[in-house]
C-alpha cells in the first residue's frame, strides 16, 4: 500500500515536472481549460441561481392559486405555460377566499405605492413602493424578523395602521434599525412599526413573479385590509378581461386581476379538502353569472410555478449552450496540444520503456500530469468564472443577486476542470504509452 502511494507521488512529481517543460504549450492548455471552464461555469452559475428553490423549507406546501375569470369565449392570457388563465387574481375572489380561510394559511398581496413623510427634517419626503399583504404573508413565506413581528389577524381585521419595514428604510427614516413602536407617516396617516426585516429577498422572487422574478423587494409592508379604506393603487401588472367601471370601487368590483394569492396546504388531504371547497365556491359564483368561460382553477407549488412562469427564460439556456460549445472547442484544442506535447518526448519515453517502465506506468505518469494540469486549470477557471460573473453584472442591471459564486458551483468548477483534463488526457496518454522502446534506443 505504502509503495503504491510512493508511486503515485512519483507520478505527480513527474507530472509537475512535465508541465514545467515546454511552458508555452502548458500555458496554452491552462488557458484553454480555464477559459472554457470559466465561460461554461459563468453561464451555468446564472442558470443554477435562476432555477434554484427560493424557499426549500416550504416550497412543496405553498401553492399559487388562480381562477379562470375570463369572459365566455375569451382567448385568455398567454403569460403562464400550460393554461390561458390570468396570472393573477381579482380583488373579489381574493377577498372571498381570505374571508373563508379554508387553507391552513393563505395570503393575498400586491405592490402599491405610498407617500412617506418622515418626521425628521433632514429626511426628504418621497414615494415608496410598498406591499399590501394579508396577515399570513410573513409566516407562510418564513420571513425572518430582525426586530418585532408581523401583525395579528385581529390587527388586520380592525384595519389597524401598522407596518413592517426593511432595515435599510428604517435606518434611512429613523436613523436606527430597531424602529419597532415608532410612528411613520404613510399617505398622511400615522402608522406604527411592528416589525423590522433584514433584507428579505427570495431569489427568484416566487411570490410575485409576474412583476419581475429578480427585482428588489419592497421596503415596506402594510395590511391588505387597508386597500379599501386607503384606496391603494396598483403598481404592477393590472390585467382586465374587460374595462372596469370607473373609480376605485369599480376596480374592486371588476374582473381585473392584480393580486398574488397563495395558500399553504401541508399534505394531500389538506389539498383535497381545500380543492373540494374551492370547487363549491366556483360553482356557486358560476350560478351568479361569473366563471362563464370555464370553472377551471390552477394550483402550482413554488417550483412548478417558477417553471410555469418560465423564470429562467430563453436567453439563459442559449448562453449555457453557447458556452458549452466554446468549452468543447477548448477541450478539443487541449487534446491536440497534449498530443503534441507527449509525443515530443518520444525519445525520452523510449528510453524509460527500455529501462523497464511498463506501459501502465507511462500511462499513469501522463494521466497524473493531466490531473495536475486540471487543477491548475481549475484555479484559472475559477478566476475566469468570477470575472465572467462580474462581466454579467455589468451587462445586466437586474442580475446582481444571481452573479454571486455559489459553493456548489465552485465545487462543480473544480470537478469539471479536473474531469475535463482527465477526459482529454486519456487518448494522448495512451498514445504515449504505446511508444516502442527498442526503436528509440537504436535511433538515440
Amino acid at each position: 500500500m505504502s509503495m503504491q502511494f510512493a508511486q503515485l507521488d512519483y507520478y505527480f512529481r513527474l507530472g509537475v515536472a512535465g508541465l514545467g517543460r515546454n511552458r508555452l504549450l502548458t500555458g496554452l492548455m491552462v488557458l484553454a481549460i480555464g477559459l472554457g471552464i470559466g465561460a461554461f461555469m459563468t453561464t451555468y452559475n446564472l442558470y443554477y441561481m435562476m432555477s434554484s428553490d427560493p424557499i426549500p423549507a416550504a416550497s412543496d406546501r405553498l401553492y399559487n392559486l388562480r381562477l379562470d375569470i375570463t369572459p365566455a369565449g375569451d382567448d385568455g392570457y398567454d403569460t403562464v405555460r400550460g393554461d390561458n388563465l390570468p396570472p393573477l387574481m381579482s380583488w373579489r375572489d381574493s377577498r372571498a377566499l381570505l374571508d373563508a380561510g379554508m387553507a391552513e394559511a393563505q395570503t393575498a398581496h400586491y405592490r402599491t405605492w405610498v407617500t412617506l413623510k418622515p418626521d425628521r427634517p433632514d429626511v426628504r419626503a418621497g414615494i415608496e413602493l410598498t406591499r399590501a399583504a394579508s396577515t399570513d404573508f410573513f409566516g407562510m413565506y418564513r420571513v425572518p424578523f430582525l426586530h418585532g413581528s408581523g401583525w395579528s389577524q385581529a390587527q388586520e381585521d380592525n384595519r389597524e395602521r401598522v407596518a413592517v419595514i426593511e432595515k435599510a428604510l428604517s435606518e434611512r427614516v429613523f436613523g436606527t434599525a430597531d424602529s419597532v413602536g415608532e410612528t411613520l407617516t404613510i399617505n398622511d396617516e400615522p402608522f406604527r412599526i411592528v416589525g423590522v426585516l433584514d433584507g428579505w429577498q427570495p431569489t427568484p422572487r416566487f411570490h410575485d413573479l409576474v412583476n419581475g422574478p429578480f427585482r428588489d423587494n419592497e421596503q415596506l409592508y402594510i395590511p391588505f385590509s387597508l386597500v379599501e379604506p386607503m384606496e391603494l393603487p396598483v403598481s404592477g401588472q393590472f390585467l382586465c378581461p374587460e374595462n372596469p367601471e370607473s373609480g376605485f370601487g369599480g376596480m374592486l368590483r371588476s374582473n381585473c386581476n392584480w393580486i398574488n394569492y397563495w395558500v399553504e396546504l401541508p399534505d394531500a388531504s389538506a389539498r383535497a379538502s381545500f380543492e373540494h371547497w374551492l370547487e363549491g365556491y366556483i360553482a356557486s359564483e358560476h350560478q351568479r353569472g361569473r366563471f362563464q368561460n370555464s370553472q377551471q382553477y390552477r394550483l402550482h407549488d413554488v417550483n412548478a410555478w417558477l417553471k410555469a412562469m418560465n423564470v429562467v427564460g430563453e436567453d439563459t439556456p442559449m448562453l449555457v449552450a453557447a458556452a458549452f460549445l466554446f468549452l468543447m472547442v477548448c477541450l478539443i484544442n487541449t487534446v491536440s496540444l497534449l498530443l503534441a506535447k507527449f509525443l515530443a518526448r518520444t525519445k525520452e519515453l523510449g528510453i524509460r520503456r527500455a529501462l523497464g517502465a511498463s506501459r501502465g506506468a507511462i500511462f499513469a505518469q501522463h494521466m497524473a500530469e493531466c490531473v495536475v494540469l486540471g487543477m491548475v486549470g481549475a484555479a484559472f477557471g475559477l478566476a475566469m468564472t468570477w470575472a465572467g460573473l462580474r462581466a454579467l453584472d455589468a451587462l445586466y442591471s437586474d442580475l446582481s443577486r444571481l452573479v454571486t459564486l455559489s459553493w456548489p458551483v465552485v465545487g462543480l468548477t473544480i470537478v469539471a476542470a479536473v474531469g475535463s483534463a482527465i477526459a482529454v488526457g486519456i487518448y494522448p496518454a495512451w498514445r504515449a504509452s504505446r511508444i516502442q522502446p527498442a526503436a528509440q534506443i537504436r535511433a538515440a
Partner: protein, 401 residues
C-alpha cells in the same frame, strides 16, 4: 497544387487533423447560430420609435398631501413649462415608447363583438402630444383643447377622438380612409378618428406588432402625473433641470421625480438584447482565437516533424512557394472537411432545436459568411508556420540526425 497526395499524407497521421476539423465544425455551428441571434437582436434594437428620442424627456409630479388634485395645478404646470426658454412642447401622457408600462386595448371597427379589431397600446395624452413626442402627422389633424377629458377616479371615461398610427389604420381600414371613421374601444365609443401618424412604437419592446398604437385625448387627474417635454434640438441637457426647478417652485409640497431622457429609456429597454449580442460576439471572437491557435499549433507541429522531409524536397528543387502552398493546402483541406462536418452538425442542431424548443425555422443565411471567415482565417493562421517551413535550408537533408 495537387490535393490528392496531400490528403493522402494527411490520412497517415490523422488524429491531429481530425481534431482540428472537429474544432472547426463546432465553431461553424456556433457562428451560424450566433450571427443569426446577434443580427436578430440588432434589428430589433434599431427599430424606430417614431419619437424624437434625442430631444425628449419624461418627468413625473406626485402630490404628497391627501387633498392634492392635479386637475387644479396641471394647467399652471403646463403653462410654466411652456414658458421656459428652450422648451419646444409638453404633454401629459400615461406611457412612453419602450417605457415598459402602458394600457393594452382592443381597437375595433364596429361595436359588435366579432368586429374586425387589433390589439395595441392606448396612449392617453394631452392636446400637444404630436408636437411633444415629435410625431409625423400623415392625415387629418391633431387633438383640440376641448377634446381633452379627465378620467379621474369616480368619473366615467369620455373618449371623443383618436389618432391612429399608420399600422393600425392600415389594418383596420385598408382602403386608406381611416380619418372621419369611427373606432370602438371596450366600454367606450364610438370614437371619431381625427388623424393618422406615421409611426409610434408601443411601450413594450417585446410586443409583437410593435407599432400598433392609438392616441386618445385623456388626462389622469389623480395624484400622479407623467409629463413628456421636448426641447429645442440639442437643448435637452439645459432644459431638464429648468423644468424640474419650475415644477418644484410652483408647489414645493409635491415630489418632482423620475426624470429621464427617452433615449435612455429606449436604451434600457434593450439591455438584454445588447448584453446577449456582446456575449455572443465575445464568445465568437474567443472561439476564432482558439481556432487560430489550434491551426498554428498543428501546422508548427507538422513542420517540426518534417524538417528533414522538407529539406529534402527543397534540395530536390521544390521552391519556397511550393512548400508554403503545401501547408496552406493542407490546412485548407482540414478546414474544408471541418466546414462540411459543421454544416451537417448545424443542420442537426437546428433541427433538434426546432423540435425541442419550437424554434421557428431552419436558418442558414449566415452559413456562407461564417464558413468564409473560418476558411480565410485558417489560411492566414497557417501562413506563419508555412513560411518558417519554407525557410528550412535544403542542406538539412544532408545532415545526419
Amino acid at each position: 497544387m495537387d490535393i490528392a497526395p496531400i490528403a493522402k499524407s494527411l490520412m497517415r497521421n490523422r488524429v491531429g487533423p481530425i481534431l482540428l476539423a472537429l474544432q472547426v465544425a463546432v465553431t461553424l455551428g456556433f457562428l451560424v447560430n450566433a450571427f443569426y441571434i446577434v443580427n436578430d437582436r440588432i434589428e430589433e434594437m434599431n427599430r424606430p420609435t417614431g419619437v424624437d428620442l434625442e430631444n425628449t424627456f419624461r418627468i413625473s409630479v406626485t402630490g404628497m398631501d391627501r387633498d392634492y388634485s392635479s386637475a387644479s395645478s396641471l394647467p399652471g404646470d403646463l403653462q410654466a413649462i411652456r414658458a421656459i426658454d428652450g422648451v419646444h412642447a409638453v404633454t401629459t401622457t400615461n406611457s412612453i415608447p419602450l417605457g415598459g408600462s402602458g394600457w393594452m386595448t382592443n381597437f375595433a371597427v364596429g361595436p359588435e363583438e366579432d368586429a374586425h379589431d387589433v390589439v395595441g397600446a392606448q396612449y392617453m395624452v394631452g392636446e400637444t402630444a404630436l408636437e411633444a413626442f415629435g410625431l409625423e402627422l400623415v392625415a387629418g389633424r391633431g387633438f383640440r383643447p376641448e377634446e381633452i377629458h379627465d378620467y379621474a377616479r369616480g368619473e366615467s371615461m369620455v373618449i371623443q377622438s383618436a389618432i391612429l398610427t399608420r399600422a393600425v389604420a392600415d389594418q383596420l381600414f385598408p382602403e386608406g380612409d381611416a380619418v372621419g371613421r369611427s373606432l370602438y374601444m371596450p366600454h367606450a365609443g364610438p370614437t371619431q378618428i381625427v388623424g393618422v401618424v406615421d409611426f409610434l412604437g408601443t411601450p413594450w419592446a417585446s410586443f409583437g406588432d410593435y407599432d400598433l398604437s392609438v392616441l386618445v385625448p385623456l388626462v389622469d387627474t389623480g395624484p400622479h402625473t407623467d409629463l413628456v417635454v421636448r426641447a429645442e434640438p440639442g437643448r435637452l441637457d439645459e432644459v431638464m433641470p429648468k423644468v424640474e426647478q419650475a415644477l418644484i417652485d410652483r408647489d414645493p409640497s409635491r415630489l418632482v421625480h423620475r426624470q429621464i431622457a427617452l433615449a435612455e429609456v429606449a436604451s434600457e429597454a434593450y439591455e438584454d438584447h445588447r448584453a446577449m449580442s456582446i456575449i455572443m460576439v465575445t464568445v465568437g471572437a474567443m472561439l476564432l482565437v482558439v481556432n487560430v491557435l489550434g491551426i498554428v499549433g498543428l501546422a508548427s507541429f507538422q513542420v517540426n516533424r518534417r524538417r528533414r522531409q522538407i529539406g529534402t524536397r527543397r534540395a530536390l528543387g521544390a521552391s519556397r512557394g511550393t512548400i508554403v502552398r503545401h501547408f496552406m493546402t493542407e490546412t485548407g483541406i482540414i478546414v474544408t472537411v471541418g466546414l462540411a462536418a459543421g454544416l451537417l452538425l448545424t443542420i442537426g442542431i437546428n433541427f433538434a432545436m426546432m423540435r425541442l424548443l419550437e424554434f421557428d425555422r431552419l436558418d442558414l443565411t449566415w452559413l456562407p459568411p461564417a464558413a468564409a471567415i473560418l476558411f480565410v482565417l485558417g489560411q492566414i493562421a497557417v501562413l506563419g508556420p508555412a513560411r518558417r517551413a519554407a525557410s528550412i535550408p535544403p542542406a538539412i537533408a544532408t545532415r545526419a540526425s
